[in-house]
């Protein structure tokens, strides 16, 4: 598969005044053309930061290093103009809470029209007609009337559809969906996920689905990356990850997930909490919570190593298994 976007050794440091806190410790992710990649982890693991950093959306307090390429073009350190041409046009992004992600003082039609003007040079009647078509496309009934509504007049699910319509306005090569259903009701969640799947199937768009919910990601990704404390700890094709997880953290996430077809079993929670970025343990960040921890885990951070075809995991036990 041809690579569309590649993140290499991406690190992010936040300057919080008296000190600098590292939120991302060298992340490598590639997304192929038309591929759907899921990014899973608990809150604070760096999933959102990864993609906000890639698009230069983190603000002046963040220092981003490494490399982000889009079809070979380097985005990190690119001039503002080059980044503006990528955002929305090549890579679009939708966010967790659609109600606050839309500007409360502008009408829906204007907010979509803005993207249409920017990326496709449409304005006036042509922009209105296209905005209406996009609202239709994302399943909003009575699209013509909705264009003159303000975000507070729509429900959360409708607002997320508007966000998706806005993202589609630039006909992007890739959509980054950052927890797109977390703030929504369960039934609406399913509808939004269906919509995203349908759009991807029709348009051949690549997609990165960021979620803390392995269940949400499982049905919508070809490949899954699991993040923990600012690092990728495991990466595998979706079926493989579910069948043969190699990192104890992934196993923990799977054990916490209810099984629909299998026999009834008790769900197991992972003990403890994610360490704060400022107080990471010296070795493997998961070691304090790991059920199969070894003495060596506290001494060095395990690198991400091959654990089979297309499968990589960052755990000392993987190396031992390969060596044995």
């Amino acid at each position: 598969m041809e690579t569309l976007v590649a993140l290499r050794g991406l690190t992010v440091d936040f300057d919080v005044g008296h000190r600098v806190i590292r939120a991302l410790h060298g992340v490598d992710i590639t997304v192929g053309k038309g591929e759907a990649v899921g990014l899973v982890g608990e809150s604070g693991s760096g999933k959102s930061v990864t993609w906000l950093a890639a698009l230069g959306l983190l603000g002046p307090r963040a220092r981003v290093r490494g490399s982000v390429t889009l079809a070979g073009q380097e985005l990190l350190g690119a001039p503002a103009r080059a980044l503006e041409a990528v955002r929305g046009r090549r890579i679009a992004m939708i966010f967790q809470d659609p109600a606050s992600a839309l500007n409360p003082v502008h009408r829906i039609g204007r907010q979509i029209g803005e993207a249409l003007g920017l990326h496709r040079g449409l304005d006036g009647g042509a922009a209105r007609a296209e905005a209406r078509r996009l609202l239709d496309r994302v399943g909003i009934a009575d699209a013509a009337r909705r264009l003159t509504d303000y975000p507070h007049q729509l429900s959360g699910g409708m607002n997320q559809r508007v966000m998706i319509a806005m993202a589609l306005a630039g006909e992007p090569d890739m959509l980054v969906a950052d927890e797109p259903t977390t703030a929504l009701d369960a039934t609406i969640q399913a509808q939004i996920l269906d919509l995203l799947r349908e759009l991807r199937r029709d348009g051949g768009m690549s997609m990165v689905l960021i979620s803390h919910d392995l269940g949400v990601v499982a049905e919508n990704s070809d490949r899954i990356c699991v993040m923990y404390a600012g690092r990728i700890v495991e990466e595998a094709p979706t079926a493989e990850l579910f069948a043969a997880p190699r990192h104890p953290y992934t196993s923990g996430l799977l054990a916490a997930l209810p099984d629909l077809d299998g026999p009834r079993r008790r769900l197991v929670a992972i003990p403890g909490t994610v360490p704060e970025p400022a107080h990471l343990p010296p070795g493997c960040a998961f070691a304090p919570r790991c059920p199969v921890v070894l003495p060596v885990c506290a001494t060095a951070v395990p690198p991400l190593e091959s654990a089979g075809p297309g499968h990589r995991a960052a755990c000392v036990r993987v190396r031992r298994a390969v060596a044995a």
């Binding site: 966010f95 992600a101 003082v105």
Partner: protein, 311 residues
């Protein structure tokens, strides 16, 4: 919308009634106009006659009822000093005051709002810290101190500008700068914090993620939202156009409403003081009403809520 407006109007009238009553009570409690205007050594018969002619010999409640009745008929009474209608005395001073406060308001807006926006956009950089330093200095230094310092520098030492009086527009420069400085400082702080609040909102990130250039994100998405809290403080400034220059008028001997108020209070010239307070209350109330209506225009969330509320 009609019901919304009518409740606002009723509330505005109540506010004015309250101010008038308050002024009445405080002034009657704080000294006898007869003694002040005629001097305490005046013969008792003269004092008695003065009290009788102004109705001060009657019970306080009766004075209050008469006073309110007269206001309702549009009669604001006469000055006890020179017998002229209080309304005339006040009205002839209004233009002089506005000649200071309106240019000062423009100065506040032109300096305060851009400075606040600039500071917010350069948060924690040198420009921001300098702006905020000036802002803190601007509103912590009392206006009479600033006025006197300006007089010391520009009138006494440099001899560039007159220290007082109202002979030409040049006489207005120092009072306008004195008035404008504190207001610009307050407005800069307000605008800065409103902008910072808005710049941290998710819809700003959405606008950037859409591919908009930063200046368009600021102009099209941040400013309209930051205007909502800023309008409140500007409305307050508009409301104090008539009475906001009491101290500065005194420092620069500017013959406006503020100086009239100071003199009238010192003399317990009841009708004049009450007329001025009524004026002040009325302008403040009008400004507040305007702000309330502007809110509805700027913030669609309030507009629809109101329409829904008004049925």
């Amino acid at each position: 919308m009609l019901r919304y407006l009518s409740t606002r109007l009723v509330r505005a009238l109540l506010t004015i009634c309250f101010v008038v009553t308050f002024a009445f009570v405080i002034l009657r409690l704080s000294g006898d106009p007869a003694l002040l205007i005629l001097s305490p050594d005046a013969p008792p018969e003269a004092i008695e006659a003065f009290r009788k002619s102004w109705g001060l010999d009657r019970p306080v409640w009766e004075q209050y009822v008469r006073y309110f009745g007269a206001i309702a008929e549009g009669n604001l009474g006469r000055s006890m000093r020179d017998g002229r209608p209080a309304l005339d005395l006040v009205l002839e001073r209004v233009p002089a005051t506005l000649a200071l406060t309106i240019p000062a308001l423009i100065l506040k807006l032109v300096i305060g709002i851009p400075a606040g926006i600039y500071a917010a956009l350069h948060r924690n950089k040198l420009a921001d810290r300098m702006t905020m330093l000036f802002s803190v200095a601007g509103f912590t230094v009392p206006s009479f101190v600033l006025g006197l310092v300006l007089v010391l520098i520009f009138s006494v030492n440099l001899g560039w500008l007159p220290s007082g009086g109202q002979d030409s527009w040049i006489h207005g420069i120092l009072p306008v700068i004195t008035l404008g400085t504190a207001g610009a400082a307050v407005l800069a702080r307000f605008t800065r914090s409103a902008m910072l609040e808005v710049l941290g909102q998710p819809y700003i990130r959405t606008a950037s993620a859409k591919g908009l250039a930063w200046h368009r994100v600021v102009v099209d998405h941040a400013l309209p939202n930051a205007a909502i809290p800023t309008v409140t403080i500007v409305g307050f400034m508009v409301g104090s156009l008539v009475a906001g220059a009491v101290v500065v008028e005194s420092v620069f001997s500017w013959p406006g409403v503020g100086r009239l108020l100071v003199v009238a209070v010192a003399n317990r010239d009841l009708a004049v003081v009450q007329t001025i307070l009524l004026f002040v209350a009325a302008t403040m109330v009008c400004a507040n009403l305007t702000v309330d209506m502007l809110y509805g225009w700027i913030d669609p969330r309030l507009r629809t809520r109101r329409v829904a509320g008004a049925g």
